[in-house]
């Protein structure tokens, strides 16, 4: 294989990896902070993708405008969902273990609800639109411009989130909550406000990921579930609750999948990611990068 072919292969891995990282960051925020394992996370990605498609196809709005719009819409939806379901769940559950199990069940319910609502409203067909499809030559290799844009935006959003958590007081509060919920409350961190906000930001990120995905790939109501599973794999790779771990894990998984698929067989892709997932969970349950 030549150097350009390697470059193209790794870049295509990084592009999918960027999306993986974005979805995983949102899920990690919800699980790391609130112990809500949101199985419905990929469904909100699908919702973001459909919103973007609808805005593009029906009203002619540029998908780029839909990036912030879908973030805000999904964030509002996330705050509403937290307020409706998880607030009551947290208040009535006797301990964290039971809350986690019940939260998982509520998320399953949400998954059924959102997925079927979308296929009821928009139908089960594959959808898509053309956006920036002309190829772009970078260092002798050819890339579709929309995919490069997807990668750049995904990295920008993930980077912004990580910087937000490292540098600001808000981020410090969130990290404190992850370390010790009781301790954080004792020093005056307002969980009642932070929890819905962070749940919303998590969903908003998955909405952005869906919006980006729809620029480069076709979309369907069933597209969300594989991304949920991949996000789960990524956060186990990076370690539950670790943000930079999720980013690195997402990019790594994307590249591993691309290389593995190139050298073996595309139908092995799902098998490959499950083997990685189960292997990591059994051998290094705290994540690849933990000390």
């Amino acid at each position: 294989m030549s150097a350009t072919a390697w470059l193209e292969l790794i870049a295509s891995g990084l592009i999918t990896g960027g999306i993986y990282a974005l979805v995983a960051l949102g899920l990690n925020l919800q699980y790391g902070l609130m112990r809500i394992l949101n199985i419905a996370h990929g469904e909100f990605l699908m919702l973001g993708a459909y919103l973007t498609w609808m805005a593009q196809a029906s009203f002619g709005i540029s998908p780029l405008w839909m990036v912030p719009v879908s973030f805000v819409l999904l964030m509002l939806l996330g705050v509403a969902i937290h307020w409706l379901f998880f607030r009551r769940l947290a208040a009535t559950s006797p301990n964290l273990d039971i809350f986690e199990a019940r939260g998982l069940m509520v998320a399953f319910g949400l998954m059924f609800l959102v997925q079927n609502l979308v296929s009821y409203v928009w139908g089960g067909d594959l959808r898509g639109y053309d956006f920036l499809t002309e190829p772009l030559a970078v260092g002798g290799a050819q890339f579709a411009a929309n995919k490069l844009l997807v990668l750049a935006l995904a990295l920008a959003f993930s980077g912004a989130l990580i910087v937000l958590f490292r540098m600001t007081l808000l981020g410090k509060g969130v990290r404190a909550l992850m370390q010790s919920p009781v301790g954080a409350q004792l020093v005056g961190i307002d969980t009642k406000r932070l929890h819905p906000a962070m749940f919303g930001i998590g969903l908003g990120l998955s909405g952005v990921a869906g919006c980006l995905l729809s620029m480069a790939y076709t979309i369907s109501p069933a597209m969300g579930e594989p991304y949920t599973v991949t996000a789960l794999i990524v956060i186990t790779l990076g370690g539950f609750g670790s943000m930079s771990g999720a980013l690195a894990g997402g990019l790594l998984l994307g590249v591993v999948e691309a290389i593995g698929m190139h050298f073996t067989n595309p139908s092995l892709k799902a098998l490959l990611s499950y083997v990685v997932f189960i292997g990591v969970l059994l051998l290094r349950p705290k994540g690849l990068f933990s000390k």
Binding site: L89, V106, F112, N116, S119, V229, L271, Y274, F277
Partner: protein, 338 residues
């Protein structure tokens, strides 16, 4: 009621229900029998799920893996060995897989366990479809020789009634108590001399055996199977759903919920499949939020509690909306100033 009276009651109820189900094929339509089959299938699956996962609170999503293994076993072996043998073999292979899987994952609790069992199910499904595609060169399998409808119905009925009977029996043994003990506090159970590892493994294998036998018995109705239908994760989800909505720790909860679900599924699924799935999701969320003990824990007291809660909530809102709350606050402030 003391424990002996409870046993007699449960046995009588089971006896009566079995007798009624036994007579159904002789007067019911084809549609009713097919509905009863689905119903019995979910009764067995969710009762056996509740038996282990409900009492120990280990949330397993692997039911569809065992179901699919059973289905494939009977699809491959039915022409070579008999009907009963292929069902037994299906149960045996599912049990063996469960023991291997359980040895690897049963030391993990909570979400880790749920996610891992789900991952393993998907792994098995993808591995089998890859094997079929690349080695045998087929996507699915056609079942040429199938037993008669009444034979299948009788087998499924025996399996369902047997599972409920097993559930009644296990509750009264040391083993059942050990399972409950693990659910309440695993470390304490261990300290009190329960070999938790072995108990959990045995319980997990028991659920798998029932699911495997059920898969072997039901799949012949479909006459064509492929990995995506028999390993469909939805079978596992729906089992968990039914058990949770009915009440996973209770004996009759899964049965009640299975009947409700089969009726709902048959009436809604054909006309509006999405509406069916949405109502499933909504029901699950509502039952987790407002009825965590499941349908079987519903009593007059619960209904009264709901009524009182709604009234209290409404009184609060009226107090707020009428502006009385604001006035009250202002008066308090003025009193402080004076």
């Amino acid at each position: 009621m003391n424990s002996r009276q409870l046993l007699i009651r449960d046995a009588l109820v089971l006896f009566g229900l079995t007798g009624w189900a036994l007579s159904l094929p002789y007067y019911g339509s084809e549609f009713a029998v097919s509905m009863a089959l689905t119903c019995l299938m979910y009764v067995a699956l969710s009762s056996s799920w509740g038996l282990f996962c409900g009492s120990t609170r280990y949330l397993s999503l692997a039911t569809s893996a065992f179901f699919g293994i059973g289905a494939y076993t009977s699809a491959l072996m039915l022409e070579r060995i008999g009907w009963t043998e292929s069902i037994l073999l299906g149960a045996a292979i599912a049990t063996a897989v469960a023991v291997a899987m359980g040895a690897a994952v049963l030391h993990l609790r909570g979400t880790y366990f749920a996610v891992l069992t789900f991952g393993m199910t998907e792994l098995i499904r993808h591995a089998i479809s890859y094997f079929e595609k690349s080695v045998t060169g087929t996507v699915g399998r056609v079942l040429a020789v199938v037993p008669e409808r009444d034979t299948i119905y009788l087998t499924v009925l025996v399996l369902a009634a047997g599972t409920v009977a097993l559930s009644i029996a296990v509750r009264r043994t040391r083993f059942g108590l050990a399972l409950m003990g693990i659910g309440a506090d695993e470390q304490r159970a261990q300290t009190l001399g329960v070999n938790t590892r072995r108990v959990k493994l045995a319980g997990f294998a028991m659920t798998a055996a029932v699911a495997g036998a059920m898969g072997a018995a039901v799949s012949v109705r479909w006459t064509y199977i492929d990995p995506h239908t028999v390993f469909n994760p939805f079978i596992g989800f729906q089992t968990v759903l039914i058990a949770l909505i009915g009440g996973p720790v209770t004996l009759w909860g899964p049965l009640i919920a299975a009947v409700v679900f089969s009726l709902l599924a048959e009436t809604l699924r054909l006309q509006a499949p999405q509406v069916y799935m949405m109502s499933l999701g909504m029901l699950l969320i509502l039952s987790v939020l407002y009825l965590p003990g499941g349908l079987a824990s519903l009593r007059w007291v619960t209904l009264r509690q709901w009524r009182d809660d709604t009234r209290a909530w409404w009184r609060e809102r009226r107090y707020e909306w009428s502006g009385e709350k604001e006035r009250e606050k202002r008066r308090a402030r003025e009193r402080r100033l004076v």
